[in-house]
Point group: C2
Chain length 374, copies 2
């Protein structure tokens, strides 16, 4: 019965029908009825973007997510998977993965290493799906300890950086308008990688002196051209450069990092813990995103490893509700930079959590990942 309902839902998703389902549609998947075991629930949801999201290769107005809950002894932790299409996950793949996750075999949510090692071992890939379990488990365990994770990790909430706010590729007129809308933010992020790059920077610099970081999304191909451009960008008050060239160009990135007057940050080149050491002496630092790291536990390990290698760290996100963004924000006190604007870009958030106050990532004192239902 439950299985048939799941099948129908998955089928409808395959057919491209995006469902905004009521909370009652949560699927409960427990392979056994063992008393006291953890209960995992999840449902598909579709985020509506305030502005179309434009990369150098695509544009879209929605992002599919899956909202998860893990319950233990009447306490519920919330999690989320976000699946921007270029990462290869979808409603269908995440729901299919989550149906395989049997948390009823675990009685103790504190055994996070065992639980998340089990979840990671179910299948390769499925990083966003895994993150949705990890985040819900962290929220649950934090609530059981009655503490937010930044406290459990021993971080100082006041040390969070400003978040950057992304200005998409657009006409000069629209860009000027977007910079005005970005008034509450103290750091701008600009997506470059087109012929009009210098014009775009000039357009922004004509209306604001705020620090800017640029994300190339692997758009540059020649390292000398990249270095020349970086020297030009440095003059324009740019703070750092994200993923300038295709991630396969390891030697070119190492050369660029060695010569660049600005930090070179890895994004596409870094997914999980294994990748951090590969980025050492190739990039100046890494962008940690929970949807790539499989969640907070591995994200925290990546932070520890990167810091121990004296690498810079930024905490990023996808288009997400306040759930996954607030989870990522728990790591922000240790980050050099944050790009946590994912929840600000949507019109149908389901939670409230971390906020941005005068541009700064601002953590609250709620336990777990620090969210409430909106």
């Amino acid at each position: 019965m439950s299985n048939r309902r799941e099948f129908l839902k998955a089928s409808s998703l395959v057919a491209g029908i995006s469902l905004i389902q009521p909370a009652s549609a949560f699927s409960i998947i427990n392979k056994s009825t063992a008393k006291g075991g953890l209960k995992l629930r999840f449902r598909a949801y579709t985020l509506q973007l305030k502005h179309a999201f434009t990369l150098s290769t695509s544009s879209r107005t929605t992002t599919p997510v899956v909202l998860t809950e893990i319950e233990h002894d009447g306490v519920i932790g919330y999690g989320e998977a976000s699946m921007p299409p270029y990462l290869g996950e979808s409603h269908e793949t995440v729901l299919r993965f989550l149906k395989k996750v049997d948390l009823s075999r675990f009685d103790d949510p504190f055994q996070m290493e065992d639980i998340l090692t089990y979840v990671d071992g179910i299948e390769e890939a499925n990083k966003a799906a895994k993150a949705s379990v990890d985040i819900a488990l962290h929220d649950l365990v934090g609530k059981l300890m009655k503490r937010p994770w930044y406290q459990i990790w021993g971080f100082d909430a006041s040390k969070t950086p400003n978040t950057s706010y992304t200005i998409g590729i657009d006409t000069p007129e629209v860009i000027r308008q977007k910079v005005k809308e970005a008034a509450p933010y103290e750091m701008l992020k600009v997506k470059l990688g087109r012929e009009t790059d210098k014009q775009m920077i000039e357009t922004i610099r004509a209306v604001t002196n705020k620090p800017i970081c640029v994300d190339i999304n692997q758009g540059w191909t020649d390292r000398q051209m990249a270095l020349d451009m970086i020297h030009w960008l440095k003059e324009k008050g740019i703070v750092f450069i994200e993923q300038p060239m295709p991630k396969e160009k390891i030697d070119d990135h190492a050369w660029l990092t060695a010569h660049s007057p600005l930090p070179i940050m890895a994004d596409e080149a870094v997914q999980r813990l294994d990748d951090v050491l590969k980025c050492h002496q190739v990039y100046s630092g890494i962008n940690i995103k929970l949807m790539k790291s499989t969640g907070m536990r591995e994200g925290h390990k990546m932070l520890v490893l990167a810091k121990s290698l004296n690498m810079k760290v930024m905490i990023g996100c996808m288009t997400e509700t306040s759930c996954a963004v607030s989870a990522a924000a728990q790591l922000a006190p240790m980050a050099d930079w944050a790009d946590l604007d994912g929840n600000l870009l949507i019109s149908n958030d389901v939670y409230s959590g971390m906020t941005v106050v005068k541009g700064k990532v601002t953590l609250n004192q709620l336990p777990g990942i620090g969210i409430k239902k909106a």
Copy 2:
């Protein structure tokens, strides 16, 4: 007044008088009287060893330690520094360091990263002194969260390894007696590095088939001789080799690790987080000891880093009370091996905490580092 008392105490220690002081002799050092600030107290103590402790170069019957307490809102966390003489710290140096530590400037014990970064920055070295603050802070924060640290870190208490029990260098007759005394333990540790090494192993193997690990304490000098000996030791059921050659012999250790049929573990070669990467591809793994790592926080980071590099991990200790040993034991569920017999070797423990049950490191459910006053 308080300062004068401290001066007299330090002077008496310089003069070699080891004091076993009552708890009332704790020194309270607070540079300000700020309400709500953390209170640090400490006192010198001398551990009495059940057996003289014999290395290839020395023998002794006592170990100086300093016992610390950090108090916040009526909750007290316990810590300890242990100073085996070959590491260069003493009652005098630890007390001198701790008198410089002003925790009254911190109101929130959860800001562990800031607090311990401050403590680490007061002076170079002084690793045991720093660990005594770190351990007391962990005990306090764990008590405030009402959870033991293995739970806060998400580890499964049932996954602790057996602890090894050290059989010192001695005559065959005494060795046979010591192996009998070691009946409750499932793993033996033997200190080698003398002409009589093979005879010692043969003596033990004549009376028990238990797994044995060997600690060379840098005692071998020739890598080919080391490899030949390791092949012989493998035939005798030895499990791993600790610090075979002087730590400066990096290339020789890398060669030995590449050729050895048994894991080669770094001990003298690894102190703090920075050393872990240096041991990568030189040793098979690392021995984490809180008195070298400056405590639990950096020890946990070393564990995360070593595991992310697919290195083996053992958790070791000095001669310590159940305080520092129980603190180290919180990491044990993630360790491949444990050498946590420090509290078993003394006759005047001050606390009870982790126990050894049928040879296995056994954690309790007490919050923090899991100890009570004995």
